[in-house]
């Protein structure tokens, strides 16, 4: 008799998403929803959606959600956690949101050791607005604002946020994972669950999981080519691993 061993988690609403075919957001959403189901925390969790492709995350996560100003999610999360220490607060942010406009907010939330969980989706472009360069766009990568490829002498270097944040004593757990292979996605699930468990156990400090995520549409690749590019190029610039905690 066949037993079902894998299905959509409850914390993920049963509806189509607006994400492009092969987009990593859908995978990240499922891993977080599985974690919420497995830890049984739907009734205590409040999620924060960024401005970016995932701004509509409140249509997909079946928990209390808020959508906030671009880059300000860590500050909103701070306001929520400080006044509701018993709630589980997660901030879901893209690379434009967290590493461009919101750099100040994530560094200060980390430096204060806010007991929140940050899920940082790094897909190396601004997706929602049409594929412009992001702080994490890698060198020579063509985007709609680096038509000749990112040139360090003009646009600087890809920003390694996770490494940056490991220097702050206020961070207790930082891991960079990737969504381009099932084995790595399993590991990403473990990392996300660990981050949520730290918050659940009032561990003193901020936990952040960076997820390298495919963006086939604005990398101008097929989804399969995109995961190959992540394997061959992206993980060189953004090495995977548990950086802290």
């Amino acid at each position: 008799m066949m037993q079902k061993v894998f299905s959509k988690p409850q914390a993920l609403k049963d509806c189509p998403t607006h994400y492009c075919p092969g987009c990593g957001h859908g995978i990240a959403h499922r891993l977080i929803a599985e974690t919420i189901d497995e830890l049984g925390i739907r009734g205590r969790t409040i999620g924060i959606a960024p401005v970016g492709c995932a701004v509509l995350a409140y249509d997909y996560f079946d928990v209390d959600m808020v959508e906030v100003a671009h880059g300000r999610a860590p500050a909103v999360a701070t306001g929520m956690k400080r006044t509701n220490p018993d709630k589980i607060i997660f901030s879901y942010q893209g690379d434009g949101d967290l590493a461009a406009i919101g750099t100040g907010e994530i560094i200060h939330a980390a430096h204060r050791g806010e007991q929140i969980t940050v899920i940082f989706i790094n897909n190396a472009v601004f997706g929602m607005t049409g594929g412009q360069m992001a702080p994490t766009t890698i060198l020579n990568q063509v985007t709609t604002t680096t038509p000749l490829g990112r040139d360090a002498s003009k646009q600087g270097y890809p920003l390694q946020v996770s490494e940056l944040l490991t220097l702050l004593p206020g961070t207790i757990y930082i891991e960079r994972c990737s969504l381009h292979k099932p084995a790595l996605i399993r590991n990403a699930k473990k990392a996300i669950k660990h981050a949520f468990e730290l918050q659940l156990n009032n561990a003193p400090g901020l936990s952040l999981v960076e997820l390298l995520s495919p963006c086939p549409t604005y990398w101008r690749m097929t989804p399969v080519k995109a995961i190959e590019w992540m394997e061959n190029e992206m993980t060189k610039v953004f090495p995977l691993g548990r950086l802290k905690g």
Binding site: R42, G43, R44, T45, I46, I48, V55, L56, Y58, F61, D62, V63, D64, M65, V66, E67, V68, A69, R72, A75, V76, A77, T78, G79, M80, R82, T83, N84, K87, I88, G104, E105, I107, H108, R112
Partner: protein
Amino acid sequence: MNERILMCGNEALAEAAIIAGLDAYFGYPITPQNEVPEYMSKRMPEEGRVFLQSESELASINMVFGAAATGKRVMTSSSSPGISLMQEGISYLAGAELPAVIVNVMRGGPGLGNIAPSQGDYFQATRGGGHGDYRTIVLAPSSVQELVDCMPLAFDLADQYRTPVLVLADGILGQMMEPVVFNKKPRRKLPPKDWALTGADNRKQNIVRSLWLKEGVVEQHNYDLQAVYKEIEKNEILCEQYEVDDAEIVVVAYGIAARIVRGAVNKARQEGIKVGWIRPITLWPFPTEQINKAADNFKIFLTVELSCGQMVEDVKLAVAGKAPVVFYGRAGGGVPTVEQVLEKIRQLTLRPENII
């Protein structure tokens, strides 16, 4: 708790907020309101409540947004340049219909300006300094006691209408000390915050948002907000007037300017000049009808502000052409003296015919 205490405005407004049930304060240092976060940093932990100094006013207003989204009573304070940084956040509070109180202890501008008192943020406050069609209730006290009384009112208004409320003070009001009494007034009957994010514990999820991409939804949302604003305009206008009925000249001023005008009008009355004053306490909703009625029988309206003239436009709109409206003010931290206002009043009696 209701004996008289000598307190500076910044500390008094903080204590009043605490008495009004403030759950959390987020702020950032900026003169001339530094005593607010300083006072809060001592008193809020004493009450077991949240105080946090943020990394910027941008962060402060978004921390306010977070706490407000979970149904808490929350405020921030800053001064003009900091309030400019908060405008996007205030627009989000209005769009997401979240209650919050923001205190602006105004200083000289534009730019870094100076740290002297000013009323140069009137347009920003009353027209909505951020993007989109929204209004914010603006309270303008003109004494430390009234500043204290404004705080519980601001929180009640914010909760009742689910909107950010601005309390507009200035460098003088913030820094000067006056005796105050903290009488704990009961709260208004306020609607339950069943929209708040408290964790969907066997209930449907709540979403706090200001984005709706589907066609026509934000349009309708705007009309819903406008309906709330109409309600506020109907119920919440506060305005004081003095000896206007027989007056030939009416001076309109708010906040600290109104204190100066009071002195000038009293002196002018002693000189036999028939002059009165009108003092808007809510700058939005503006007391348009009250001023319009005062203009029924011909008067000259003089608006006095610590600026180059901003509220004067609302006075002109209110008077609607029935009478001339002239302006006198000093900007960039300049403070008109009673003598200067009195001189202006005297001039209006000598040559009424060549008024613009």
